[in-house]
């Protein structure tokens, strides 16, 4: 190998960035990373804070909560409590990545390898992103959303729109379809349909709510319950069925729902996504170094920030705040490569299907077909459990003690693995609340049911959320809990009933 390093800065220029970009792209292709075209934007720290507070989206509708987030970010950054991320990357086609002006040249190269080839290929390859998001239309959709919300503010008043958005945001996590595959339609179709929906929906809803007394004689017991099955997508249900909403309000609910749906895959693939991107910036830059393209100074700076990123503090460290997705993901990816290249007897026993096979094929397969939950349960090896010294703790409300259930030993591997997998299962972390019933012929009240998992109760904020739900629904809203023995208890309702006064 000839030692002929690229200029290692520390200051970057656009020519140097181009040079690194070209080298990285060449190596990425060598490893079969399939990406959207890259659009790399250089921005300042202030602009980075702007991007932060709008959840990384380049365009967003106006809402006070983004302002609050901005103030928080600005405050933390100014006091030095927090550094800004080196990059933000957006799942769009072309894939937009932000580089911060302050970064040194080695950092810019790291970020390009990480975001423009790591994350980018993940967005393009992973099955969740393929099914749930449409990278080519997201920017157009955001523009549409921003303009639509602004238009509504002019027509109906800022206050009105803001209240509606508040309520939608409170239920944002309940605006995704978890199982039903969404249709992909283009923006133009979307806009065309939006107009049609607007005219059509209202009449549809009125039909539903016809309460003409002619059906009085009917046996109310035999009427089919509405909805016939519990609905998990609460916002969708409201958009389609809330009796009093204006068409524009339904459209705004739809916008919030769509954006929530767009982010849903990201919430489910944090470990994989970061692990994949970290693995590739590490692999690509090392490849370039082996070719003699990078200087030692460059590598030292790169390794310094790389090791910071993949550091996992132990549970009793003051820096500990849960498992670092970068560390876990990166180490698992590296471990998969090791199992393929140098399998031990243990690996052969645990992973007979890919131990000793081609590592690149295996990694691509893993990236394309899994989410965090299934990725951990399929690929977490005993070696990683040992390296991380993972242990699980059972916290039973009824018991005065916490109990160590499993540690990183022969008997504990399976248990630790399934616990960690469950830890990344979103449906375990979000309360299971579904639309249960609408009293169509009575007071139109809406009933939700909460099914607790492992006896974990709902937090106090439920009453506040019910108020938001009431604002959207327009009639009484009740929240019930299904107990272990099948009994139903009322958790709350809005508007509340004043028992004591009567």
């Amino acid at each position: 190998m000839t030692y002929n390093p690229l200029n290692d800065g520390p200051d970057w220029t656009f020519e140097r960035l181009e040079m690194y970009q070209a080298e990285i792209a060449r190596v990425a292709e060598h490893y079969r990373l399939d990406t959207y075209p890259n659009q790399i934007e250089v921005i300042t720290a202030e602009q980075m804070m702007d991007a932060y507070s709008s959840v990384g989206m380049p365009i967003g509708y106006a809402h006070w909560s983004y302002g609050k987030k901005f103030i928080q970010t600005e405050q933390n950054y100014k006091r030095g409590q927090m550094g800004l991320a080196y990059e933000i990357v957006i799942n769009s086609d072309p894939c937009i990545a932000y580089l911060m002006e302050e970064n040194t040249l080695p950092m810019q190269a790291l970020v390009m390898a990480h975001a423009c080839y790591g994350h980018n290929s993940f967005f393009k390859g992973n099955y969740l992103f393929k099914t749930w998001t449409d990278a080519s239309s997201i920017i157009d959709y955001l523009v549409f959303a921003k303009n639509y919300v602004a238009e509504c503010e002019q027509k109906y008043g800022i206050e009105e729109v803001e209240n509606l958005l508040d309520s939608c945001h409170a239920l944002m996590n309940y605006g995704v379809d978890r199982y039903k595959r969404p249709q992909q339609i283009s923006l133009f179709e979307e806009q065309k349909r939006q107009k049609e929906r607007e005219d059509y929906l209202q009449s549809q809803v009125n039909e539903l709510w016809k309460t003409i007394p002619q059906s009085k004689q009917e046996d109310t017991e035999n009427l089919p319950q509405f909805p016939s099955e519990p609905q998990e997508n609460i916002l969708y249900f409201i958009e389609k069925n809330a009796p009093l909403l204006e068409p524009w309000q339904r459209e705004i609910i739809r916008i919030v729902r769509k954006i929530s749906q767009y982010f849903y895959p990201q919430r489910q693939t944090q470990v994989m996504n970061e692990g994949w991107a970290t693995f590739w910036h590490y692999t690509i830059l090392n490849h370039l170094y082996d070719e003699g393209k990078l200087s030692d100074a460059f590598m030292l700076e790169f390794l310094q920030s790389h090791t910071n990123v993949v550091y996992q503090p132990p549970y009793n460290s003051k820096f500990y705040s849960g498992i670092n997705p970068y560390a876990l993901g990166f180490n698992m990816m590296v471990d998969i490569r090791r199992i393929c290249e140098n399998p031990t007897a243990e690996d052969k026993e645990w992973f007979p299907e890919f131990a000793g096979k081609d590592w690149l094929d295996t990694l691509h397969f893993a990236m394309e077909n899994f989410k965090d939950e299934s990725f951990v349960s399929q690929f977490l090896s005993p070696k990683i459990i040992r390296d991380f010294k993972l242990f699980t703790i059972l916290d039973k409300e009824s018991s005065p003690h916490l109990e160590v259930k499993a540690i990183h030993d022969e008997v504990g591997y399976q248990k630790v693995r399934s616990s960690l997998s469950a830890h990344y299962n979103l449906s375990n972390n979000e309360p299971n609340i579904q639309v249960y019933k609408v009293d169509v012929r009575g007071d139109r009240s809406l009933t939700l049911r909460y099914v607790p998992q492992d006896k974990i109760p709902l937090a106090e904020s439920k009453i506040e959320v019910l108020k938001h739900l009431y604002r959207l629904w327009g009639f009484e809203v009740r929240l019930e809990q299904v107990e272990d023995d099948g009994n139903i208890t009322l958790l709350g309702q809005c508007p509340p009933v004043n028992d004591d006064k009567e």
């Binding site: 804070m49 106006a62 006070w64």
Partner: protein
Amino acid sequence: MAHFIDRRLNGKNKSTPNRQRFIRRYKKQIKEAVSDAINKRSVTDISSGESISIPQRDISEPVFHQGKGGNREHIHPGNDQFSTGDKIQRPPSGQGGGAGEGNASDQGEGQDDFVFSISKDEYLDLLFEDLELPNLQKSQLDKLVQMKTHRAGFCNDGMPSNLDIVRSLKGSIARRIAMTAGKRSRLKELEVELEALLAEPVPPQHQIETLEAEIEALRRRIASVPFIDNYDLRFRNYEKRPHPTSKAVMFCLMDVSGSMDQATKDMAKRFYILLYQFLTRTYKDIEVVYIRHHTQAKEVDEQEFFYSQETGGTIVSSALKLMDEIVAERYSQGDWNIYAAQASDGDNWADDSPHCTDILANKLLKVVRYYAYIEITTRAHQSLWREYQGLSAAYNNFAMQHIRSVEDIYPIFRELFKKNRQKQQGAA
């Protein structure tokens, strides 16, 4: 496949509208924080913004999430001491650290306040929203800020009277030199050549004629370059700059007799702070005169005004007299907008009160823009209040209010300076 875009020159304040919305939404809370904050400031400290803190619960965005309790399984890295089956004492709630700490992070509602800074302008806007400087309407004709004309370099366009002849001619010379330099040097060469030919024993007539013709042509072309052209012209440029002509002076009058304790003085101080800050919104240049009095009045500095102890009886008119003298001596009315705020606990030598009314009505109220009297007391009103009530009815630049406790100050200040005060409307 990649291209780079330099976005650094794009606006950086993309979040400003969202920030403004946040402030608009929490105006009530922010205002409360602002009015708390003024108590901690010096009278003339207006240079800084303010750090605002709002209780976290007021700005939380509620979502459904899991509460405490139930059965949970946590997974942690870095096991250094545990074996399967170990029992660990549950860490006391509210205290992080230890093995079971996973609980704490699930609880989304921290109790910390949400703290952030607002700029000086935002601070003042919030502080004085809906307030109006009294009697500003009347004095609108004499603008608070006058424009003064200043020289500001030269420009290519202007009125003939602003023509700068020296500059224009300099430009003309420069242009002529630049346009003819080549031709002149050629001319010189030809003339030398011609002389050389003429000096020859047999002048070659033909060559001489050609040279002469050429010289003639060059001379004509040089002469055709205009002596002065439109773009040589330079005009003196003037610009108008705001020039604060209206200066304001604020008189702080306070009773420091034995009956005024430190708590009462502190309340008065807050009132003066508000007044000062309010005036700085309108005037660029403000002087403050502190006059304190018991049986005699004295002009003092801020420190002495608020914090030195005096005892004795009370004669209010002494302060008014001193103020009148100072106005006559230093603040002739033409240049100065005079504001005065008097704080007292209402005590006065009974025979003196009519005297005060007399001085105010006949002298001071004619020259001051606004005179505010606040009485800080929990007792019944005395003669001074009753005397002043007569004034308040007769003059619309005189206002009086009664303060009982600290909480009253801000509302009463707002009351005094509320936009379109009814009294003014009635008078107008």
